[in-house]
Subunit: 211 residues, 2 copies
DNA sequence: CAAGCCTCATGACAAATGTCATTATCTTCT
DNA sequence: AGAAGATAATGACATTTGTCATGAGGCTTG
């Protein structure tokens, strides 16, 4: 079973490599110290499992995982973390990472690698158990009212983030198209954005991208 | 502890009411048979916990929950389901529902209500355990190549979803602005979308809203 | 080699978008 | 009563965006 290891900390890489290569069925094909290497190495080695730290200096594990998955949707990626970084858990899940576990559990890493290889998804119990709270807290987070956004303006934002045109928004809210343009303009000004697309992106990111 | 019960099926409502009112500390303040009643009843009775079926004829439990939560963000809502409706689980989580469990577990309903009341979040084991797969299946899933989207086009999509203008995309990819416009036009045609904002929304929804 | 893609480019054009100035009504708070 | 703010509208304007026609060069595959 061919692996790639990526971790900021060369010590961790070495330690993991030693632990994993002690097992006859596991081979570490390559290692790196930053997520920016991930895609290149993946392309080159086509590993069975990619083991990667989630927090890294330049390109973090999530972004690297996104890059790899965009080209290899079936990539089996197991993300490691020192201590459960709440913010990352959900993103890792959504991304389609096949596993997420604590580095501390070093005795569990090899079994987890095998499980992921065989198609299973591995999320430590400490992690799955807190998903509900994390999910519930994540989506909110931006206080539009605090930024001087009025109720009506918020409606315009929501519809913009649905991909509607000014004309369509106007007709939905029974306004003139010009008025909608004015609202948009004022919103963009208040949120320091430049156009409706940036607004949609902004809103979806804050909201968590759904509904 | 004051409750409101909402379920499509009057039989279920009656049964639950009987079970719950048998307990001295629980009172069913009101019941209804459709989610459209939820907000009105909530306003009127201010229950400690709102128990609601997730699948209902007119207005489903999710939409009703969203309505209630938008006005009462601290509402404790426990959603019920007959059999784990995969698609609903994630939405319920994101919405901030405090609980989600199977009706079959009728012996667990009362304890769950008490747990939710005391501030806990209650998601049945069968549910939490499958969250990873659900999360992973939802976000990815769109095959751009199958829709005739080329590699270069995908890059344009990604940058568009960052909120960049044509000019900015052009400069990032070392292309002329016109070329970017052409790519955009072809992409919109292939994905049957109308403008860059719809494209950004589409992409973020498929990808899970980050990066 | 020819057909078919992907890449990249131009120019022209219509439509949508965002900005600005200005006006008006209504409510709320002081 | 007056100030402030939200709501709604208009017209004018420059810019951006999306479409279309057209063409060139490159790579791959039958």
């Amino acid at each position: 079973m061919k692996l790639i290891l990526i971790d900021d900390d060369q010590l961790v890489v070495s330690a993991l490599k030693m632990i994993l290569e002690a097992l006859p069925d596991l081979t570490v094909a390559a290692t790196a110290n930053d997520g920016s290497e991930a895609l290149r190495l993946y392309k080159e080695h086509r590993p069975d499992v990619l083991l990667m730290d989630i927090r890294m200096e330049k390109t973090d594990g999530l972004e690297a995982a996104a890059q790899v998955l965009s080209q290899f949707p079936d990539a089996r990626i197991l993300l490691l973390t020192t201590f459960s970084d709440d913010e990352y858990i959900i993103k890792a899940l959504r991304l389609g990472a096949k596993g997420y576990l604590l580095k501390q559990d070093y005795q569990n890493i090899a079994p987890a690698v095998r499980a992921v290889f065989s198609g299973q998804t591995v999320f430590g119990d400490e992690i799955t158990s807190r998903i509900p709270e994390l999910m519930a807290q994540a989506p909110s987070g931006f206080d539009y009212e605090a930024h001087g956004i009025s109720e009506r303006e918020l409606e315009v934002i929501r519809l913009t983030a649905e991909g509607l045109s000014n004309r369509e928004i106007a007709s939905r809210l029974y306004l003139s198209e010009g008025t909608v343009r004015n609202y948009l303009s004022s919103i963009l000004d208040k949120l320091e954005l430049r156009d409706r697309t940036q607004l949609a992106v902004f809103y979806l990111r804050k909201q968590g991208g759904f509904l």
